[in-house]
């Protein structure tokens, strides 16, 4: 297993290299640049700016310079936020996005899992219909509707929570963003869990377990759940990578200083270094979580072996 993990990490390096290279050149194909703006710059001043950020160099030189800096752990300065390096922006924002996304994911897995199992055990009964209805609603109402509704009802009308802001990480400020992030995930997890649990409960080994007279608890939790978890794990890997790297909608509406907004803003601002930093971070999260998913497969399903 250890060898497998090591091999996966080593293969991640060329993957990252390819992603960085494609992103670097694709970004430069986009028209306009970081210093095109409503109040256009005098050509002399624009040239000075381009020189300071090495944008006057041939593209291949810029690419090599970027790669060299990247290998040394330097993501470069942000073009549009020059007081900060890209690393500083991520150091400030990523922990916040991880806190919110991580909490939302754990809650979605726990609550969605329980709801899904309940629905499967009471298939075609009122409890099942209630879960399906909730899950369908949860996955169809977009976050840009849930978030303002939460603000209107819980913050402005009931005054239980603040409308927005991080509030130095106060619990009360996290409730709205976490709930908004969690609801669609919870709905998906509940539906997945219901489906896979129903399938698992119908399998031969569960029939055998029941025939052997095992208790319901033992049948469901010890035997059926294992098999039912595989689709959830497959889903949770990419979902974790997406959730932990922030959501532009939730962070913008709740005024949360996470990194979700950089994904879109950096691209629109042609903030090349921040775009590249974002790409690298997302790619790393995706690679790591895909690996975790594969390892968990082996843990949950004894038939899966990587050695």
């Amino acid at each position: 297993m250890l060898r497998y993990v090591l091999r996966r990490f080593l293969t991640a390096i060329p993957t990252l290299f390819v992603i960085v290279t494609i992103s670097f050149f694709l970004m430069r194909v986009a028209p306009g640049g970081p210093f095109n703006q409503e109040k256009g710059l005098n050509p002399v001043i624009k040239a000075n700016l381009e020189r300071v950020f090495h944008l006057d160099q041939p593209l291949w030189k810029q690419y090599l310079l970027y790669l060299n800096n990247l290998v040394h752990g330097d993501f470069g300065p942000s073009y549009n936020l020059p007081d900060f390096t890209v690393a500083e922006l991520f150091a400030a924002g990523l922990p916040i996005s991880i806190q919110l996304g991580g909490t939302a994911l754990v809650l979605a897995l726990l609550l969605g899992g329980i709801l899904g199992i309940t629905a499967a055990l009471y298939q075609n009964k009122p409890a099942d219909y209630a879960v399906i209805a909730t899950a369908t609603a949860g996955s169809t109402i977009p976050t840009f509707v849930i978030a303002p509704l939460f603000q209107l009802f819980f913050a402005l009308t009931l005054k239980w929570f603040p409308v927005g802001g991080w509030g130095d990480g106060a619990l009360i400020n996290k409730v709205g963003p976490v709930l908004t992030l969690m609801l669609p995930q919870l709905a998906i997890v509940a539906r997945l869990m219901r489906g896979s649990m129903i399938e698992s409960l119908r399998s031969h080994h569960i029939r055998t377990a029941r025939a052997l007279g095992l208790s319901d608890y033992s049948v469901v939790i010890k035997h059926a759940l294992r098999g039912a978890l595989l689709p959830i794990i497959s889903y949770a890997g990419p979902a974790a990578a997406a959730l932990l790297t922030g959501s532009i909608i939730v962070e913008t509406i709740f005024a949360i200083p996470g990194v979700g907004r950089y994904f879109v803003e950096a691209a629109l601002n042609r903030d090349y270094t921040l775009v590249m930093g974002t790409v690298v971070v997302i790619a790393m999260f995706t690679i790591v979580f895909n690996l975790i998913v594969d390892i968990l497969y082996a843990v949950v399903d004894p038939r899966v072996r990587y050695d």
Partner: protein, 528 residues
């Protein structure tokens, strides 16, 4: 003796407790919504209005704007101008200190201004010092920064030599690009001088926290010369990119003011917040530019025909919910001593304008058999799109076939700056300082922002004559004549709307004076 001391201590303790509980020691905190985070807090690397709002509190230039945006002495207590209008001598405020306690000297200004124009700084607003001798050559790398026309006469006297008399020079000195920075701090910390805890500034507030996308906290600077009159202890600048959230946060009391509001909900907002909604003319113009060096848009009659057919009243009222004002001149009203020059159809009714436009189009040979085709380019924004769609509809009855091209801001301005191919494109200009030259310079031959590629010797000559005019009155007259030719006659830009400021200001906030620059330094405000 012992018991007396105990009683006294007890009384003092009780009084302090009472004062604390009644709020006598409570900090006055102002949560100030600011439409975006600054790109930088280094005054020499900033350019935007939302950066200016913060830097105005942290730093003080030679001149400042007061609560009504009137120019007043700032770091310079007084100044004199030589007879030829080219040499300004500033007497710095005696006893003025940086936030670290060191004195603010003329050498600080010499260092800072050289830094601003130095190509290595790559300051976007280096041109704010363009009137100073050698400034432009230094920024272009043709001369050394120490050749800038500034000198320290003595520690308290700073002298500036200009290329030519520049009547708006003092107005320019209120811009953040001309603020001083602390040399000792930059020498010691390099680029980190700007970080909270490091930043040494000379304004009414000191930077203590900067969490990107969350808040910037500045606390009252007790070394500031007028600290005794600064009533707000802490100002938190909170970026409010989402205007709807900002409005809700204002309603919940989380913000005391915000510099924008969701204009599409204006009627509801006015009903809900009443006098707390502040709307008024702002020194900025929303315009379209024809590519005047390309047929058929090189025909000024055609440009006017299209311009006349645009119903600006409709745009202002229906598209912008009266948060914009119909415009017929490039320079907005509100600049003392300047008479704006509007197009001659400004006073006509829209029906008359449309009739005249139809006549011109027919004269030029356009009609059902040969429809005029025009492509409007605009940068992404719901309001820009709605404006373009409305214009498309307004021009349709005249047989003008309008197509729309929407691109993101960088692509849009990238094309305009490179003088790429287009018919007509959207742009806007917000004044950096209160002077008509700041607008009219955009139509001078070869100016970077002259997207229309307009060129006219008569216009350029008038602008040059204005720059060396003997009196302010003569200068304003020449600028006005230039606008009459470049804008009203030739439509180097097609003015559509004047901007307006639209702020949300809590009734708890006192001292907020509405003004055309929408400038509201925190040091002049108070909070109940």
């Amino acid at each position: 003796m012992k018991s007396q001391f105990s009683v006294k201590s007890w009384l003092i303790g009780c009084s302090m407790l009472a004062m604390t509980t009644t709020g006598a020691f409570a900090e006055v905190v102002y949560n100030r919504g600011n439409s975006a985070d600054p790109e930088s807090l280094d005054p020499h690397k900033t350019s935007t209005v939302y950066e200016a709002n913060i830097l105005r509190d942290l730093f003080m230039g030679l001149m400042v704007q007061d609560a009504k945006a009137t120019v007043q002495p700032g770091a310079a207590e007084s100044h004199t101008v030589s007879a030829d209008g080219k040499t300004y001598t500033f007497k710095l405020r005696q006893g003025a200190l940086w936030s670290d306690g060191s004195p603010v000297t003329a050498d600080d200004f010499v260092y800072s201004w050289r830094r601003l124009v130095d190509p290595a700084t790559a300051a976007e607003y280096a041109y704010m010092l363009a009137p100073v001798v050698n400034a432009e050559d230094i920024t272009a790398g043709k001369k050394k920064p120490d050749e800038l026309g500034v000198k320290e006469v003595d520690a308290g006297t700073f002298e500036v030599t200009l290329n030519a008399p520049t009547p708006y020079f003092l107005e320019m000195l209120t811009h953040q690009a001309t603020y001083p920075v602390n040399k000792a701090s930059i020498d010691k910390l390099g680029a980190d001088f700007i970080k909270p805890g490091n930043l040494v500034s000379n304004g009414a507030y000191v930077l203590t926290e900067f969490v990107p996308n969350d808040h910037i906290k500045a606390v009252k600077n007790d070394k500031f010369y007028d600290a005794a009159n600064v009533k707000i202890d802490v100002v938190n600048f909170i970026p409010t990119e989402d205007r709807s959230t900002a409005m809700k946060r204002f309603e919940a009391g989380e913000l005391d003011s915000n510099d924008d509001l969701p204009t599409e909900q204006l009627a509801d907002i006015k009903a809900k917040f009443g006098d707390q909604v502040r709307i008024g003319p702002y020194l900025g113009t929303y315009y379209y530019a024809f590519k005047t060096d390309k047929a058929p848009w090189d025909n000024v009659k055609l440009r006017h025909a299209v311009s006349m057919a645009i119903d600006r009243d409709y745009l202002a009222e229906k598209v912008w919910q009266n948060t914009m004002i119909p415009a017929y001149s490039f320079v907005p009203p509100g600049i003392t001593g300047y008479a704006t020059r509007a197009t001659d159809y400004a006073e006509k009714s829209q029906l008359d304008r449309e009739d005249e436009a139809k006549k011109v189009l027919t004269e030029l040979g356009y009609g059902p058999d040969k429809p005029l085709k025009m492509e409007i380019r605009f940068n992404t924004s719901e309001n820009h799109k709605n404006t373009a769609v409305a214009i498309q509809e307004q021009l349709k009855p005249l047989g003008i076939e309008v197509s729309l091209v929407n691109t993101d801001t960088k692509t849009h301005y990238g094309l305009l700056e490179q003088h790429g191919d287009f018919d007509i494109a959207r742009a806007g200009w917000i004044a950096d300082y209160k002077d008509p030259e700041n607008f009219l310079a955009l139509c001078k031959t070869g100016t970077g922002n002259n997207y229309a590629a307009y060129t006219n010797k008569e216009y350029d000559d008038l602008m040059a004559a204005a720059a060396s005019a003997a009196t302010p009155e003569e200068r304003m007259k020449l600028l006005s004549d230039a606008e009459a030719i470049g804008v009203a006659r030739d439509l180097c830009v097609v003015p559509l709307l004047y901007y307006s400021y639209h702020d949300l200001v809590s009734s708890k906030l006192k001292g907020w004076e509405d003004n055309v620059m929408d400038v509201h330094p925190t040091r002049f405000l108070a909070k109940e």
